[in-house]
Symmetry: C2
Subunit: 476 residues, 2 copies
């Protein structure tokens, strides 16, 4: 009896691989051939797919044809130079090539021995990034998939530090987490996941720049302590999601040190900007934080997903999570870093490979000039907003995101909010640009986020043209 066929044979893999690379090269050369925001209705894609898996295998050619025919038109194109929504990102060439290799190698870095190079490259690449951002070597790093998961681990470590019984006896008492109304929703998700309850979140007032007020933080902690609550952690943000506001981390670190509370810094988006000497100050005080998250998959040209958590108390994080069943015992344990000890997930992709290749391919100087260009584009757009009486800016522009809105004299706030929601839908329906929105001081606010390596002046100018044209039409 002949054994059944194994995997796709190597020659076929080579042939199909070349086709895929050619398709990607062509795609990445001109993603603007597609609408940036998918122009499909709910259910359109699913309706084109059979409801059952095939009984017999199909050729890769047939599958790839369906990919191009059915899947691609149903995608929102994050590579499109007109992608200005949320935080714009880039899967750079070296990052994609690294992902190809990682997928083929398929190593699981749960233990050092299950791929020593994956574990050690993670340590090295995270050391490089830490040094580039000017953080001290007292920060040890670990790679997770997303900032949500990095944050979950940071707060779990804080929980372990404040409630040493939590690992065995579970959550007890009345814990408190301090943040602001502009802190990312991943904090809320981490808090509810960790069993702390959303009521444990205390939102500290912000100043007019939307940054946390350190004095108000101190007063809140004092009040809670007097009431018998247990301050667990403070989450400060360098580059909030809505407006990229920057908390005064140094002043917050003062409070945290005095009060003995874990300080977590969310620099998921803006952290890489600290690689630029003139922006190094954004992380002032962060050296005294207990943990800090930065996402190379956001603004460091690394394909999604790769979030880096830096921690000055990795021993606490390990104490919170380490748990080694017999089948994962190894002779070298104690002498090596076993990544499974630092988290919920046992299995770990070889994510460090893409970070290493991206850092080497662009180099520190190449990263700096690209980030500065994105900031320049954002300031340019902000200048147009400021000069046009039909628009107003809604926040400062410290990085590459502009918050603004269309205004109409005499109209109510509610009417203006509705007008801007309508304007957003109109420009997004163009397929040429994709922007998103938020609320600042309760008001509907448009956001233009620059962050893709393909975005140039031309694309930002086109966004402005569409916005002005749309606003004029709505006024007519």
């Amino acid at each position: 009896m002949t054994p059944p066929p194994g995997d796709m044979d190597p020659e076929s893999f080579r042939r199909h691989g070349h086709r895929v690379v050619d398709w990607l090269a062509e795609y990445l050369a001109s993603p603007a051939q597609y609408p940036v925001l998918a122009q499909v209705s709910p259910g359109d894609v699913a309706a084109k797919l059979p409801s059952n898996a095939p009984e017999n295998g199909e050729s890769f050619d047939a599958i790839f044809a369906d990919f191009q025919r059915i899947i691609v038109p149903g995608l929102t194109h994050w590579n499109h130079p007109g992608f200005f929504a949320y935080f714009a990102i880039t899967a750079s060439g070296p990052g994609i090539l690294a992902e190809m290799l990682a997928a083929g190698l398929n190593v699981q870095a749960m233990l050092w021995r299950t791929s020593p190079a994956a574990t050690e490259l993670e340590e090295v690449a995270l050391g490089w990034l830490r040094d580039l951002m000017g953080l001290p070597a007292s920060f040890d790093g670990v790679i997770y998939d997303t900032a949500s998961v990095s944050t979950l681990h940071a707060l779990a470590a804080a929980r372990h530090g404040a409630l040493p019984d939590v690992r065995n006896r579970g959550v007890s008492g009345a814990p408190r987490i301090y943040c602001t109304e502009h802190t990312h929703s991943s904090i809320d998700k981490a808090v509810l996941t960790l069993g702390l309850g959303l009521q444990s979140i205390r939102r500290v007032p912000v100043d007019t720049g939307l940054a946390m007020q350190p004095h108000a933080l101190d007063a809140a902690i004092a009040e809670d302590l007097a009431a018998g609550l247990t301050p667990l952690a403070v989450v400060s943000t360098v580059g909030t999601t809505s407006s990229t506001a920057i908390d005064d981390v140094a002043a917050i670190a003062d409070v945290c040190e005095r009060r003995g509370v874990w300080l977590h810094v969310d620099a998921a988006y803006a952290g890489p900007m600290a690689i630029v000497p003139e922006y190094r100050h954004i992380l002032a005080g962060a050296a005294r934080a207990d943990s800090l998250v930065v996402n190379p998959h956001k603004w460091l040209f690394t394909p999604f997903d790769l979030s880096a958590l830096y921690c000055r108390r990795m021993d606490v994080l390990r104490a919170a999570f380490s748990l080694v069943p017999e089948y994962l015992q190894t002779p070298e344990s104690g002498r090596v870093r076993n990544l499974m000890d630092t988290g919920v997930q046992l299995g770990r992709r070889f994510r460090a490979l893409k970070l290493w290749m991206v850092l080497r391919y662009f180099g520190a100087e190449g990263i700096r000039e690209r980030l500065l260009e994105h900031c320049r584009l954002a300031r340019m757009f902000a200048g147009w907003v400021d000069a046009d009486p039909a628009f107003e800016r809604a926040a400062d522009v410290p990085f590459s995101v502009v918050c603004f809105r269309h205004v109409r004299p005499g109209a109510s706030d509610e009417a203006i909010d509705a007008l801007n929601a309508q304007l957003l839908d109109e420009v997004n329906a163009s397929g040429e640009v994709f922007l998103s929105h938020t609320r600042l001081h309760g008001r509907y606010t448009l956001r233009l986020a620059v962050g893709n390596l393909r975005t140039t002046e031309r694309h930002v100018a086109r966004a402005w043209e569409l916005l002005r044209g749309g606003a004029a039409r709505l006024s007519a």
Copy 2:
């Protein structure tokens, strides 16, 4: 002023991409050119890497050369046909090609609108897999990265069901989770992460086949209820990690239904075997479970990571996790599936693409014959063990994993345990095979796990040859 360079130019990407594909094709054709278990010492890889990121960008050729020179020799090769440790896995050709495309597209499926095709393909591909395994359509699915994270969400949903106040007020009372000593450690990690405390885990006795005793489970729940504790969930396993034992899910479902307790089924490894009609019975009763996890990245030829959680009460899971800040509101919300509502992670890779391509490329019949071949290889190996007086089998072989040990008449259990640990180190040092171990009934046990598409009779025979030779040398 010329703008700074953006990404790697498309022609360079094409050229380097072809090189990477050629390298992968050659690598996948003969991964056995490398030792399966990395033959390096702790720190060897890191010592070969510079301690700082380069100031100026480097060529991809230079980076790729270092990858081959420094990284590859420091890897443990999960593609090697002699990989028999933990659960052996395969990054199949179609799966790798899909990952290449996903990395290039770099879409984030957090919201339907951020890539409708990614969200809808996830629903379709998970429906295909559910139907193939014979699970009813009442199960809705969601893709996470790992079984650890799937399980975390399943238990979080169970927690939400049993403690409705938990989302706002946090964990309270005395919750209970039921499993056995053979349940995967990810349950323990989920329990401590969720703030339930490890003491909430109650291990139900197993029978001689290492499966949970349903009567003992019922008695444990009754006792806990009488003591005022809150039964939260029961975790049953189809294919335990140590020995691939199969719990009687139908009998356990009876208990859970009677007691009103959430039933989670861990079929991470063995679930795909239910695609084979003669093995369909392994999931008998699972249709009455509340949730079930299966990992296509384990035994379904899909590159790591892709774990599928099926849930009959996805509304509870959503109620536990949904949380929509203003900047993630969309006009179509309520009419579409927004994947961010089903979990901790906001960002989501386009993982469905590889599952869809793998299912189509191999087809149901192609999957069945490959899984059956792995089971045949395991039974063949088990037969050799059974026929050799220097070895004994330590558990049944329901799937593709064989538990066994070298024995020596007259030697103490401790001496035999030590002997087997030594034997394991010796055969692993060969570089030809990689096995791992566990403990069953307290005794050190070797495991041979078949699961890679490149593994044939020849490789299993070589493992046996090395084990017999090693045992003979140790006896000499």
